[in-house]
């Protein structure tokens, strides 16, 4: 595990998360995340051979329900929070995707 992070690595990870960062943020996060990861390294000392991971605190069987159609939210209600609904079409509007 690396105990240091470069601003380039921070930038690369942020890009995976679709998150732009300022140069200042990259420097700050590189330092702070390195500190946090350094602190987290203590978990690597623990012997976890044969230990299954816990992904969820309730280990019961999955709960199922009949797959019956139910009314959802009204379309205009769903669109009411959109930053830029395409008025009258019932659609969300986004910037051009394909050049």
């Amino acid at each position: 595990m690396p105990s240091r992070l470069t601003t380039g690595e921070v930038e690369q990870v942020a890009r995976l998360a679709h998150l732009a960062l300022s140069d200042q943020e990259k420097v700050l996060y590189a330092r702070q995340l390195a500190d946090i990861l350094e602190y987290a390294r203590q978990v690597s000392e623990i012997d976890t051979r044969e230990v299954p991971p816990t992904s969820h605190a309730l280990l019961q069987q999955s709960i199922e329900r009949p797959d019956e159609p139910r009314p959802g939210l009204a379309r205009d209600e769903v669109l009411s929070n959109a930053p830029e609904p395409a008025r009258g079409t019932g659609l969300f509007k986004v910037p051009r995707v394909i050049g």
């Binding site: 990870v13 679709h18 500190d35 946090i36 602190y39 991971p53 816990t54 019961q60 999955s62 939210l73």
Partner: protein, 486 residues
């Protein structure tokens, strides 16, 4: 009956018997908010009109003999829990103008039970923090010492209840966000068992950990809330099918015969001297009530903080992917889609949220997944097993809720790791999915509240509430009102 200041128990009874109207109760609390919230900043939105309308309806319709369990009781709801038609922000710029088209199940259940929502309370952005200082709208203040943090992330709800701006509060707890602010504000805060309470309508942070819980002046009041909100909900597939008992009926005042585990080794690490003294006094009081103290070992709990921050940030980075400027929330206007996403998220999220998204994305990324995320999940199993072993010998585990009394605002904001360590005693119960309560444990010098945390077996909230209630009957700290001064 003192208004404001009464318990939910007293208010419900008075309104049910016609000794008080829901409207006069509601007005007393709205007046209190108007008089005090400039100094506390517990609320992000006060829904005065909506509250008075509901109170008037309750007063007009109150003819039945079967009074609902929270009739006329004013409630403050953390601003990451949706209420239909009421702005819900998670204290983030990215949701600053979000108005949910539906209510959370907990809100529906509270309102069906006669409770009146006074407004939405301040919290750390997306519930990520331990002081409310990560709120996009500025911090709340601790009613016992205005220059100190009320705890977090549910600090607004805790401050509101402590300052008698509301009778009850709803919070959410992912790694201690109900319990630690309850401790800092001198009130009761319960994190139910994972799955005990529906999360439908709760803005997700870390889905394997998030749980909604009550904040209240007394264990009885917290039990009254849990009675209403606990139980299976078809809208949340992670809500548990187990039948919920009557938590109020469980409050017998009896602690005799209970075996209380004390993980003394954990306490050796960096606990404030006053917190330790008050904790030991609380254990003495429990013994005087007939409980037996048993030393237990939770050897992996000391890894709780790193495990929690690896797991929670990984889940957060995934949950927060939905805020992309398309369907709701803030959008940065840009000509191409990718830049729109990236700048929307840069400008919409605050510093701590971005830090956690980057950390979470990092620990999930190729090459680091096994070393960090998978490893953390395995140690999570060991933390859970430690508790399982302890609960073969004891009924409860006792710890301080927080290693320190409330700290000063501004003291930790520049050092995220230092802020994370505020959760050192609360994260292990979260990782194990266990119910845990914080109940007042006295005051450190400067009259700063300190909390006692009790952790129980899966779905055994009743024992936690019973012991917290028994402690209150002895010490009566809950009835003391904070000064709202520095």
């Amino acid at each position: 009956m003192k208004l404001p200041g009464a318990t939910a128990f007293d208010i419900q009874r008075a309104v049910a018997r016609g000794e008080a109207t829901a409207t006069e109760v509601c007005r007393a609390y709205l007046d209190r908010i108007a008089a005090t919230d400039a100094s506390l900043h517990a609320f992000t939105t006060v829904t005065a009109e909506r509250a008075l309308e509901r109170a008037a309806r309750i007063d007009a319709e109150r003819t039945r003999s079967d009074a609902p369990p929270l009739l006329g009781v004013p409630v403050a709801v953390k601003d990451n829990i949706c209420i239909r038609g009421v702005r819900t922000t998670a204290c983030s710029r990215i949701l600053e103008r979000f108005v949910p088209p539906y209510s959370a199940t907990v809100v529906d259940r509270l309102e069906r039970a006669g409770a009146i929502v006074l407004g939405k309370t301040n919290c750390d952005e997306f519930a990520m923090g331990s002081s409310t200082e990560n709120s996009a709208f500025g911090p709340s203040r601790n009613p016992w010492a205005l220059d100190r943090a009320p705890g977090g992330s549910s600090g607004g709800s805790a401050a509101a209840v402590a300052a008698r701006q509301a009778v009850l509060g709803l919070g959410s707890d992912t790694g201690g966000s109900v319990r630690q602010p309850a401790s800092f504000c001198g009130i009761v805060g319960l994190k139910p068992t994972y799955g005990r309470v529906s999360r439908y309508g709760l803005i997700a942070f870390a889905s394997s950990l998030d749980q909604i819980g009550p904040l209240a002046l007394t264990a009885r009041d917290a039990s009254m809330v849990l009675n209403v909100i606990a139980g299976r909900d078809a809208n949340d597939s992670t809500s548990a099918p187990e039948e919920a008992p009557d938590y109020v009926a469980a409050l017998t005042g009896e602690a005799r015969g209970l075996r209380i585990g004390v993980p003394r080794a954990i306490l050796a690490e960096g606990v404030d001297a006053d917190v330790e003294r008050l904790f030991l006094e609380a254990l003495g009081a429990l013994r005087a009530r007939g409980a037996t103290l048993v030393d237990v070992e939770l050897p992996h709990s000391r890894f709780g903080i790193p495990v929690y921050y690896l797991v929670a940030t990984a889940e957060a980075s995934s949950n927060l992917a939905r805020y992309d400027g398309v369907r709701y929330g803030f959008r940065a206007e840009e000509d191409d889609l990718q830049t729109m996403y990236e700048r929307t998220r840069n400008r919409g999220f605050g510093a701590e949220v971005k830090r956690r998204i980057v950390l979470g994305t990092y620990v999930l990324s190729a090459g680091y997944y096994e070393a960090y995320y998978l490893k953390a999940q395995q140690v999570r199993t060991l933390i859970r097993r430690d508790y399982e072993e302890a609960f073969e010998r004891v009924d409860l585990v006792a710890m301080p809720t927080s290693p320190t009394p409330p700290f000063k605002l501004g003291e930790r904001v520049d050092d995220p790791l230092q802020m994370y360590l505020a959760d050192v005693f609360t994260v292990s119960a979260s990782l194990a999915g266990l119910p845990a309560i914080s109940t007042p444990c006295g005051f450190a010098p400067g009259h700063l509240p300190v909390g006692l945390q009790l952790t129980g077996r899966m779905f055994d909230e009743a024992t936690l509430l019973r012991v917290a209630d028994a402690c209150e009957r002895d010490n009566g700290w809950w009835s003391e009102q904070p000064s709202l001064t520095t």
